[in-house]
């Protein structure tokens, strides 16, 4: 399995991280080193083994579906890079 430049660019796009074109070859090489290491997992016989979903077998707790918190607009927005009139502000999304 080898990652080419096109795959590296696609992964960067999916991860929403801008990567300059000239940084792609080094990145692809690093990916290949790491994936080469991960490839070892192919040696393991996993026939009939369930993938782990919870490391400590436990039933998730349930609670009544009621409002437990709220009315915290000021706190919610207090760390926003750009907040206006009680909302998060972002560049135009709708064409």
């Amino acid at each position: 399995m080898s990652i080419d430049l096109e795959t590296a660019a696609r992964v960067a796009k999916l991860a929403r991280i801008r990567v300059d074109e000239d940084a792609l070859p080094a990145m692809a090489e690093e990916f290949n080193t790491i994936l080469g290491f991960i490839e070892q997992l192919g040696e393991v016989d996993v026939e009939g083994v369930e993938p782990m979903t919870s490391v400590t077998p436990m039933r998730l707790k349930r609670r009544d579906d009621v409002v437990t918190d709220g009315h915290r607009q000021k706190e919610v927005l207090s760390n926003a890079p750009d907040a206006r009139e009680g909302f998060f502000a972002v560049p135009k999304v709708v064409e």
């Binding site: 782990m52 609670r63 998060f88």
Partner: protein, 495 residues
């Protein structure tokens, strides 16, 4: 009274209760020690005013009597913990300026018990690293040196600032977190004790998430007794974390008898790695002898899937990280990139994340994205989760055979020089976690205890792995090991 910052939690607690010292005196001693230790770059956000305020409140409480064990104890808090109104940025540029409006459950538990926060501690960015070299604040430095050699060494990672601060007596103890070894490896590199409890013991609420199925908080302390005292306060059920265990927390300190007669200690043959340094091998066999001499039965065991733990970890942890770190989009908190004319929301995400994340974080987020992407999910992610099942099963089988705890080295080497791994490929750095990562994958408790010095005078640690939810028994075995090893060395002050 001088050197109050050098006290253990247990010593300080007894002196506070006997009214021999006050919390404000302890706190001032630590604040001066911190002031003189800029060269270690361990504390990266200082909260002296808050510390004094908390110390005065603790003293009032102590005056009234019946204060909890942690009351008035000055601590350092890893930057991964959200602390209300205090910068909490997981050592990342993307959380620049972030001041949470809430308190993490673990720090809240500590504060409720009267503990004092001196400041926030350096770490690897988003806890991704084994040397504290990926931090936006720069490297934390190990107070230990190789004899008279002035080379700056790593305190380990990701809880490098915590390890450096405790080892250098800048605080009485510190919080750490451990996803693949981030408490135990730095503890071993700096000659201190660090325990990662069973997954679910400590609430993860308010701790910046790296890999949610692996992350656990734990104490980093100067002794096993201190680890027992502080862990007790940190854990407990929390409805705000759905994976938090609703189980009673025993009195860990009361379980420290040092009597391990009849306990069965497993020595896993798969941990004897090719090319393991002789000194690590010797430390391990010395530790085995110590436990045998203390009356434990030593048994060779096998954990056949050990070899696959690191590769499985480097699928699962990045996969979870890519999902957890998707929230850093420049909208709700932290950094947002300056946009060019015509840039839309996608450009905002891409530029913000390119600027805000460091290289190791980007690498892991992208590896995680890749292994979760269409066509590779089964080949990588599902296969790794199946291997994880097998790794846990290995442990279940040896525990079912009557093993009480497992003894291994904590790290494959002593602390290395900062910058020494720069040219190595990322996988070389990942090998630091080879002895610790199995414990996270299996959700077990593990503790690193300092057990000796190498030829260059650097500390080395041993790891004990326990049964799930049996931290009390594990701490007691660690206590017996600590007593037998008699590790008392401290780094010579150069900073």
């Amino acid at each position: 009274m001088s050197d109050l910052n050098r006290l253990t939690i247990a010593e300080a607690r007894d002196k506070l209760r006997a009214k021999e010292v006050t919390s404000i005196e302890l706190t001032e001693a630590c604040l001066s020690a911190i002031e003189g230790a800029g060269a270690l770059n361990a504390f990266i956000h200082h909260t002296a005013d808050l510390a004094r305020e908390q110390a005065r409140a603790a003293d009032t409480r102590l005056q009234k009597g019946e204060a909890p064990a942690m009351c008035g104890i000055p601590l350092g808090i890893k930057d991964l913990f959200c602390t209300k109104g205090v910068p909490s940025q997981a050592a990342s540029g993307i959380l620049n300026g972030f001041k949470p409006e809430y308190e993490s459950t673990v720090t809240q538990n500590l504060f409720d018990a009267g503990a004092v926060m001196l400041g926030k501690l350096n770490m690897d960015e988003f806890a991704m690293g084994s040397s504290n070299e990926t931090s936006v604040y720069g490297n934390a430095v190990n107070p230990w040196r190789r004899g008279n050699d002035e080379t700056a060494l790593t305190p380990g990672g990701s809880s490098g600032g915590s390890a450096s601060a405790v080892s250098a007596d800048l605080c009485l103890a510190a919080t750490g977190t451990d996803t693949g070894g981030s408490i135990r490896q730095p503890a071993a590199f700096t000659g201190i004790t660090g325990i990662k409890p069973t997954y679910g013991r400590c609430s993860r609420w308010g701790i910046v998430a790296f890999a949610s199925s692996l992350d656990q908080a734990g104490p980093m302390t100067k002794s096993v007794r201190d680890a027992a005292i502080m862990l007790q306060t940190m854990c407990g059920h929390d409805p705000k974390d759905s994976t938090s265990a609703d189980l009673p927390v025993p009195d860990f300190e009361a379980m420290l008898s040092g009597d391990i007669r009849g306990k069965v200690i497993g020595i896993p043959r798969e941990y004897r790695m090719d090319g393991m340094p002789e000194e690590i091998e010797k430390l391990w066999s010395d530790g085995t002898d110590m436990l045998r001499d203390a009356g434990a039965e030593i048994r060779d065991i096998t954990l056949p899937h050990t070899k696959y733990a690191l590769p499985a970890y480097y699928v699962i942890a990045p996969a979870e990280a890519s999902s957890n770190l998707a929230r850093y989009d420049g909208v709700r908190y932290g950094h947002r990139a300056k946009l060019d004319q015509g840039d839309g929301i996608t450009e905002m995400y891409e530029k913000t994340r390119a600027e805000g994340f460091g290289p190791e974080v980007k690498r892991r987020v992208m590896i995680g994205t890749y292994v979760l992407s269409a066509g590779f999910y089964d080949a990588y992610y599902n296969r790794a989760r199946k291997v994880r099942t097998l790794i846990r099963r290995d442990f279940e089988e040896v525990f079912a055979q009557g093993i009480d705890a497992i003894l291994t080295p904590a790290t494959p080497s002593a602390a290395f020089g900062l910058g020494e791994m720069e040219k190595a490929d990322p996988v070389q750095m990942y090998l630091n976690d080879v002895f610790t990562v199995t414990v996270n994958l299996a959700g077990l408790p593990g503790i690193a205890v300092p057990a000796g010095l190498d030829r260059q005078g650097l500390p080395l640690g041993l790891q004990l792995i326990g049964r799930p939810w049996d931290e009390g028994d594990l701490l007691n075995t660690a206590y017996a090991l600590e007593q037998a090893a008699g590790f008392v060395a401290k780094p010579a002050k150069w900073w």
